[in-house]
Amino acid sequence: MGSLSERAAFLGLRIITYFVVLVVGYILFDIIKNGIGVLSWSFLTTYPNPDGTGGIFPAIVGTFYLVLGTILVALPLGMASAVYLTEYAKQGFLNNQIRLAIVTLAGVPSIVFGLFGLGLFVLFLNFGTSILAGSLTLACMILPTIIVSSEEALRAVPQTLREASLALGATKWETIRKSVLPYAIPGMMTGSILGVGRAAGETAPILLTVAAFFLPQLPGSVFDQVMALPYHLYVLAMQFPNAETVRPTQYGTALVLLLLVLGLNIGAIVLRAHFRKRNRW
């Protein structure tokens, strides 16, 4: 091992790194410790009360609908874009513009997506504040994540598979459909889960396009407002900052949201590792 000063320097670096780990660990610990006691079947399946106490059933259902709508729009569009970009696109003007657009989209702040959704879907297309407007807004937001991760999965399929298929007389699309996609789809799916996790946890876009705080009924159509977990937590935290009676609901909602989003992310990481091992070329 190196000299004393060298070891001191490495120790310093280690302390800095583990400080971050510690802080994050503490956040997770705090939410879990205070939230775990609240989680119960009735908390998850009953309706909230106007004073901030009660269950979170409509918020869970609302988030489920929003995420479902987002997936239905963003997944096919994102995957098809990725197939075009990896399999068809040639270097050139159009390709560059598409890439620039994806990068730009990935950098747009979530609240700006909210304004955009408000202007286009809620007002101009007259969907009103609704599941439809919110899902479309969230879909626009996670499109770049899905495209980029799907592209990665497509590029990981060896070129020889495509060449073999083309050499046997298959057309380009037949090759993609039968020789490329079957191997790429698991990777595309797991990558997309990351985007879905983001959609489930975002608050700012739905603030302006869907969310209702206290809505003691389930939506009847895609043109209805819904409650959503992140927005519910936001309102609980801002409207009842000092109310001890609301504390359990706040922590419980935070924990459910955290488990949902981290669960999706960890699931994606595990699945990806699994498929990587299986598809080792």
Binding site: S3, G114, G201, T203, A237, P241
Partner: protein, 291 residues
């Protein structure tokens, strides 16, 4: 034309169409932000945005100046970036150069997982735990200040900085390191005088991308910065950022009013700011990857 040819062509058009959505969405974002914001330009005029008073609800003389909001955003962003840089950069150095392979396998995904924590959960943690700490440590009346927001935002920027900087550091050619070590430099000297400078453009790009994330963040700041719209440079005073203003006020403002249009101008300013930051960062990253 055979069915096969027809099918090939149709599929291609469908895929091109899908790929064009990204361009269309970007165009629509610009179009609809300006569409909602534009009437403001004729009445009360764009000059109004340069004023230092953001008082959209005042009956005597409403003020729509973006200056306090921009300084609020700038203050929080700068503080957060300054806080995030040491942890991000040194963390990346540690993970790339010092940590063992197994340690790295655990540390990197764990830190990247932080980026997945919903910002509203971080904001909630900020209200419950961080704000009281800030209040007692600095002896303040109220813990909801610029510095509280900056700490939370720094935490959100650190994963971005670590992730990209670590890649940059690890892609420095091995020969550089070996040459330095062969010349008698020790590992610390090699890391800080050879490896880190060689990866510098990647590190700078990572910091800028982290900053881009911080500028546009809404929920964590709205919950912990106190939301007072005033021009200040004190980290211990309450501030209101651009993002927080939109999220706070859009819910209660009637559509089509001057106030409503002003909120869209804030959105445009945000969009342009993040677009520029990200574009420069990606340019830096690209030029360095080519080198």
């Amino acid at each position: 034309m055979s069915f096969r040819q027809f099918q090939e062509r149709t599929v291609k058009y469908v895929l091109v169409g899908a790929a064009l959505t990204s361009i269309i969405v970007v165009a629509l974002i610009f179009l609809f932000l300006f569409r909602e914001a534009l009437p403001f330009a004729s009445d009360p005029g764009l000059k109004e945005l340069a004023s230092t008073r953001w008082m959209p609800k005042s009956f005597q003389e409403a003020g729509y100046g973006l200056v306090p909001l921009i300084t609020g955003s700038a203050l929080v962003t700068l503080l957060a970036t300054l806080l995030a840089i040491p942890f991000g950069v040194f963390g990346a150095v540690y993970i790339a150069e010092v940590a063992g392979p197994r340690e790295r396998e655990i540390l990197k995904p764990f830190i990247e997982l932080v980026a997945a924590i919903p910002s509203v959960v971080l904001g909630f943690f900020g209200i419950m735990v961080l704000a009281p700490i800030v209040k007692s440590v600095f002896g303040l009346q109220n813990g909801l200040t610029a510095i509280t927001g900056a700490v939370l935002l720094a935490l959100m920027a650190v994963p971005t900085i670590i992730s990209i900087s670590e890649d940059a550091i690890r892609s420095v050619p091995k020969a550089y390191k070996e040459a330095s070590l062969a010349l008698g430099a020790n590992r610390v000297q090699t890391i800080f005088k050879v490896v880190v400078p060689a990866a510098m453009s990647g590190i700078i790009a990572s910091i800028m991308l982290g900053m881009g994330r911080v500028v546009g963040e809404t929920m964590a700041v709205i919950m912990v910065t106190g939301n007072a719209a005033k021009v200040t440079l004190s980290p211990f005073s309450s501030v209101r950022t651009m993002t927080a203003t939109i999220a706070n006020e859009m819910g209660e403002v009637p559509f089509g009013t001057t106030h409503y249009q002003a909120l869209f101008w804030i959105g445009i300013a945000l969009l342009i700011a993040t677009f520029c930051i990200n574009l420069v960062a990606l340019r830096v990253l690209k030029s360095y990857r080519r080198a």
